[in-house]
Symmetry: C2
Subunit: 425 residues, 2 copies
């Protein structure tokens, strides 16, 4: 019988602030970082579960301390039993009554639980010899809903409704899996649009993006309106009328500012306006969405949990749902969010970039296509060409598409030498 | 020129789980704890600023790690300059772009900032030789609104509206301060109602509460409906018809369960139903409030920040606002929340109990009475008779009222020997 014998943590920080990669209206100088967790077993098969929380620098040590607080829940457990019921493990971790006080279900402690849950899924997928998206897509509807905690969701989505959605998608799974393996999943790129880049670099990167086959790009906005108009004009001229351009304000505005700013940018035919205001403000997003229609409002990378996503959907406060791999409590909670989005008919365009977010979130989008929503219509995964070289199984993005990973695991394993080289302190 | 020269932290835990004090439907065995922070200066006056985050045990070490992450912001600063503009300090801490990623504005990092802000207020009040409530009540309306960050609030409350509210209250300040010093502020007690107590203990503690002059008590509910009916019947019989009885479900239910449960308890004439569901769920609270009217819905002790409180008020999702001294980012954010409550005409009945929450939150309620809402009508501060002996200036609750503290400071300083005795690990 194999047991989980160790939870190892690392405070990994990349000095990205030196190049202004990742700079936006709220985050002028991020140092892309990972609070990193490895679960080891005594199975003797060489397989480990890896997971992490993406942060942008200061405080990554606090995030690591939160990972450590989960050691007593995990170390010593029977591996087979644990991996056989990850729904139960999720509930045990999220509903630990003392840890729960620190959120509840939000912020540092919740993200730490997400990293642990994702590490367990990584281990489970490696042991099954499958990439995570394929492992999930092979589960029965009953097995999938057993992963989800429906507490606080039933006024919008019951277990029975979730089961019905999954059953409708079941007959088409094999065909969509074949399509996915053949064609990949659509991507868009944020590489051109960071706020710290000058106009020449912006134009050059837009040109590159189109040449590389991307059909959508995204620009950061919200610093200065005149600058934003000028940068959007450059981007639209370089990209031409057929490439979609989304904009991202990174929570910079209140309601009135958001509406005024978006009206001024509408002439550039916006694909969406992302994070116009506080990620906690369902009612403000609803007011903005109503005022700026038909431009859709997108949010999600800072949405703390499924309860907030539920309300955004109920209030028609978002038109594009931006799932994040490490903000909520891992794969299980993200499945709940995919089911909510499917119920409300809202497209999911995952947040990625950072460190390892592309590697992780592609599995969720591909699972969604095969087994939940059953479509890629109006859906794209964000892509940023940074830091992939530090991962054991980096993403394969070509011709504007994510090509489906075939290696076993959740994509969350960083190279040992990168961990050593960038370990902080 | 004096400087802040040290930020010291302590992981203080009281073994309250041994007696089931504090047991409720979600928290069966809390160990009341404080992630504790002391700010020392080189002024040579012997004055320190003390603050803490209340937690219930596991994870208190993570909360302490978050306090430590603030050291680089605080140590080395000029004391006078820092204390002269606590609005600026609040913005600097809350909007640190890298730390902000860990919330934003919620959970462990946000609460840590709250403890630091409260410690600065404690120091400022001690240096002024005044209790915090009196220090705040002596500030001009302009000085008070300068403490508040109106980002994300202006769709509900602008700086000008806040100023107008404070100006209306200004002429009555002196008279209300005199009344407060003479009569104190109304309290209610939660001491009788913990879920882990048997029926005899419940009856005895209800009898004691009435004898001690309390006009309202609170019972925990949500474990089992038959038990709740039996316990409420006992409490109502012992207390008689004139004592108000509130109930608290500690987030146990979804919408449908909440409505069903409250309907079944309505015959006992409930003062309010507290935390019926997830503290993040504005829309669910609004639905419950509408369904169970006229029983008011109360929430707030787990409400992450002013943006969520704003929405609860906008959506008529709460009828009683339960401010908490250590959940949000300290005195400044609580002033924002008091101003929002005043704008919407909703009574504030602060959450207390735990460790030191009574000592801390009384200052905010008293400031509200003197300088913001100008009334105690429908308002009571929670009281639980636990752990006060560990504080330098314990609350003075007699005849069912909090008597106004007269010692300088924010009430947040724990006895040195208690810190030593209960330091964890």
């Amino acid at each position: 019988m194999a047991r989980l014998i160790a939870l190892q943590t690392h405070d990994v920080r990349f000095p990205t602030s030196q190049t202004l990669d990742g700079s936006d209206a709220m985050n002028p100088d991020p140092d892309y970082s990972a609070a990193y967790l490895r679960l080891r077993t005594d199975a003797g098969d060489g397989l480990e579960g890896h997971g992490f929380v993406f942060t942008i620098g200061r405080g990554n040590d606090v995030q690591v301390a939160a990972l450590r607080a989960l050691e007593e829940h995990l170390v010593g457990r029977d591996v087979d039993e644990t991996l056989a019921d990850l729904g139960a493990v999720w509930r045990e971790l999220v509903h630990d009554s003392q840890l729960r006080w620190l959120g509840p279900e939000k912020g540092i402690m919740h993200m730490a639980i997400g990293a642990a849950v994702n590490a367990l899924w990584d281990l489970k997928a490696k042991r099954a010899g499958k990439p995570l998206w394929q492992l999930l897509s092979g589960m029965t509807p009953e097995e999938i809903v057993d992963l989800v905690d429906f507490r606080y969701l039933t006024d919008a989505l019951t277990r029975e409704e979730a089961l019905a959605l999954l059953r409708v998608a079941e007959p088409g799974r094999a065909e969509r899996e074949a399509t996915l393996l053949r064609e990949g999943y659509p991507a868009y790129t944020t590489t051109p649009g960071w706020l710290g880049y000058d106009d020449d670099k912006l134009a050059r990167l837009c040109r590159d993006a189109v040449a590389e086959g991307f059909t959508q790009i995204k620009l950061k906005v919200g610093g200065d309106l005149d600058d934003d108009v000028r940068r959007l004009r450059i981007a639209r001229e370089v990209c031409g009328p057929d490439v979609r351009i989304a904009v991202d304000a990174n929570q910079r505005w209140g309601v009135a500012d958001a509406v005024r700013w978006i009206e001024a940018l509408k002439e550039f035919d916006l694909a969406w306006i992302e994070e116009p205001t506080s990620p906690d403000d369902v009612l403000a997003h609803a007011a903005i969405a109503k005022a700026v229609a038909p431009v859709p409002v997108a949010t999600g990378e800072h949405t703390a949990n499924r309860v907030l996503f539920k309300q955004f959907l109920q209030a028609k406060a978002l038109g594009i749902l931006q799932l994040d791999a490490t903000r909520v409590a891992g794969v299980n909670e993200n499945i709940a969010i995919l089911l909510l989005a499917a119920k409300f008919g809202v497209p999911v365009c995952p947040h990625a970039g950072g460190v390892g977010l592309c590697e992780a979130v592609q599995h969720l989008a591909m699972f969604d296509y095969v087994a939940v929503s059953g479509t890629t219509e109006g859906r794209l995964i964000e892509f940023v060409d940074h830091l992939h070289e530090h991962f054991v199984t980096p993403v394969d993005v070509r011709d504007g598409r994510y090509h489906a990973p075939k290696s076993p695991g959740a994509g969350t394993e960083m190279l040992g030498k990168s961990i050593v080289e960038y370990e902080h302190g």
